[in-house]
């Protein structure tokens, strides 16, 4: 792969072990400006671990990480806020960056939680909190966004809207996104590059390449493969009831 200055973060054969057990091994991938890279894989396949390697949270790693930006927004998979901290949504938005009120309001409006601005973080529902987490990550206008299951617990319509928002943000800010998701349907339509993990990179490429890959099929089953390929099928036409192409 030729080096170019669009690369935000690059993993070279990276791995991480904990208590003498490899959580993930031999991962190579890179996230570029304006591109969405999605990590998929079963539970325990090392998706979050890979994200944490890319973010520099895990330091004693195998292989190498090259990070070319410090403007990072992160939505972790799990986060527990302690009740000993009196923390409103507004305070949380300012956690790692000094933002003006306008930027805070804009981000909270985008994810649809502006009405919660003065609420205590501990009183939010799971879905509401997830929207706040996403708002916080995008509010600082990051160059690299790492989203670890960003829509978990969000209602169905909200989920679609948030994925659209993520796609929009990637275009508007021209930021690179490393996305982890279980939802093959909604994610695949926007993804540029898919990395399928199962303790190692089992396959990677464009969604259609991955969907056709036999290892992917073995891991997720035939049905999941169909989901992926469906999105490669671009509808520039309509079907009649019998399946033939409608003539306009």
């Amino acid at each position: 792969m030729s080096s170019n200055n669009n690369i935000l973060v690059k993993l070279n054969n990276a791995g991480y072990q904990h208590n003498n057990k490899w959580l993930v091994k031999g991962v190579s991938l890179s996230v570029e400006k304006g591109k969405i890279v999605t990590l998929i894989g079963p539970n325990g396949s090392g998706k979050s671990t890979t994200a944490k390697i890319a973010l520099g949270i895990y330091k004693k790693i195998d292989g190498e990480v090259e990070k070319y930006t410090n403007k990072v927004g992160y939505v972790p998979q799990k986060i527990s806020i302690d009740w000993t901290l009196p923390l409103r949504v507004h305070d949380f938005m300012l956690l790692t960056e000094n933002l003006d009120d306008e930027a805070i309001n804009k981000a909270l409006s985008l994810t649809g939680v502006i009405h919660l601005k003065d609420k205590n973080l501990g009183n939010l529902s799971g879905g509401e909190f997830q929207r706040v987490l996403l708002a916080r990550a995008i509010s600082k206008k990051p160059e690299l966004l790492v989203l670890d299951e960003p829509v978990q617990g969000v209602d169905f319509t909200g989920e679609i809207a948030l994925y659209e928002l993520i796609k929009k943000i990637s275009d508007e800010l021209n930021c690179g996104i490393l996305l982890i998701s279980h939802d093959l349907h909604t994610v695949m339509s926007a993804t540029d590059h898919v990395v399928c993990l199962n303790g190692h990179v089992c396959c990677s490429g464009s969604p259609i390449d991955v969907a056709r890959n036999n290892e992917y099929k073995a891991l997720f089953g035939e049905q999941a493969s169909q989901i992926l390929t469906r999105y490669e099928h671009k509808h520039d036409h309509e079907h009649s009831n019998d399946g033939s192409i409608k003539k306009n």
Binding site: Y74, T84, L85, P86, L87, L95, T96, V146
Partner: protein, 267 residues
């Protein structure tokens, strides 16, 4: 109207309260009460060394407390013992070693009660300088590391991922803890320093809905505790430390009324 020693004690106590206010909030948020206790217990060793080598008490307490903090971090890395066991081990052994050393120093008369519970009569003009200059320094550094320290208190991985270097902030905070113990040991006494850190902050938690408010209320609570405590200490001829802490407890109990009200409002 008041004797000089009382004015000195008041100025010293108010200086301490300004610093324990914000530090105490972090002690509560980061669950460091027992860590504070351990550092404070080790202060006795610092005091005895100060007497043995005729060096400044605050300085020697600061060095010993920092050293104990370092040892704790190493023990946490190298043993499989749980954190609270290590804290207990260090707290009691450093207190014991301190008392044993005192036993050897027969040529010096120690006011043990003063060391343990504070002695306002002992506050000198030099102490005032140490408290106010040292305290100002601690607050300045705390302001500088506020963002990474607070962010990593909320969530370590977020702070680390977004480039705030939480480990450095944590290390600096540990040094600040050793610093506050060093400057407040004469006022409050080593057994009660943690009380001065956490009780006003706990009171503040009950009446605040944002971190900034909690810090401000914690400082105000500390200042009031010092004023009420020292005046009653003068009035009833009690030790300064326990009087200040008792006053802080009184304020904490008052703040509980606020919780009851806000719970009612919610329902």
């Amino acid at each position: 109207m008041f004797d000089d020693f009382f004015i000195r004690a008041l100025v010293a106590g108010l200086g301490v309260a300004f610093v324990t206010g914000p530090l105490g909030c972090f002690v509560i948020w980061r669950r460091l009460s027992y860590f504070g206790d351990t550092l404070a217990h080790s202060a006795l060793l610092g005091v005895t060394l100060a007497y043995s080598f005729e060096i400044n008490i605050a300085f020697s307490v600061f060095i010993i407390s920092s050293l104990i903090a370092l040892i704790l971090i190493q023990l946490q890395k190298r043993t499989n013992l749980p954190g609270d066991a290590l804290l207990g081990l260090l707290a009691h052994s450093s207190l014991a070693v301190g008392l044993v050393v005192i036993g050897f120093l027969t040529f010096i008369r120690f006011d043990i009660m003063g060391l343990l519970f504070g002695d306002i009569l002992a506050v000198t003009v030099d102490d005032l300088l140490i408290i106010w200059i040292g305290g100002a320094l601690i607050l300045l550094v705390l302001k500088l590391i506020w963002k990474p320290l607070f962010a990593s208190t909320v969530n370590y991985e977020l702070a680390e991922a977004e480039g705030l270097n939480p480990d450095r902030a944590k290390a600096i905070f540990t040094i600040l803890m050793a610093g506050i113990i060093a400057i407040s040991i004469k006022m409050v006494g080593l057994l009660l320093i943690t009380g001065m850190l956490i009780i006003p902050a706990a009171m503040a938690r009950n009446i605040s809905d944002s971190p900034q408010k909690m810090v401000v209320y914690s400082i105000i609570g500390g200042l009031l505790s010092v004023i009420i405590g020292l005046f009653s200490s003068l009035e009833f001829n009690t030790s300064s430390g326990p009087s200040i802490i008792a006053a802080a407890l009184f304020l904490f109990i008052l703040s509980l009324l606020n919780i009851k009200q806000s719970i009612k409002l919610k329902n």
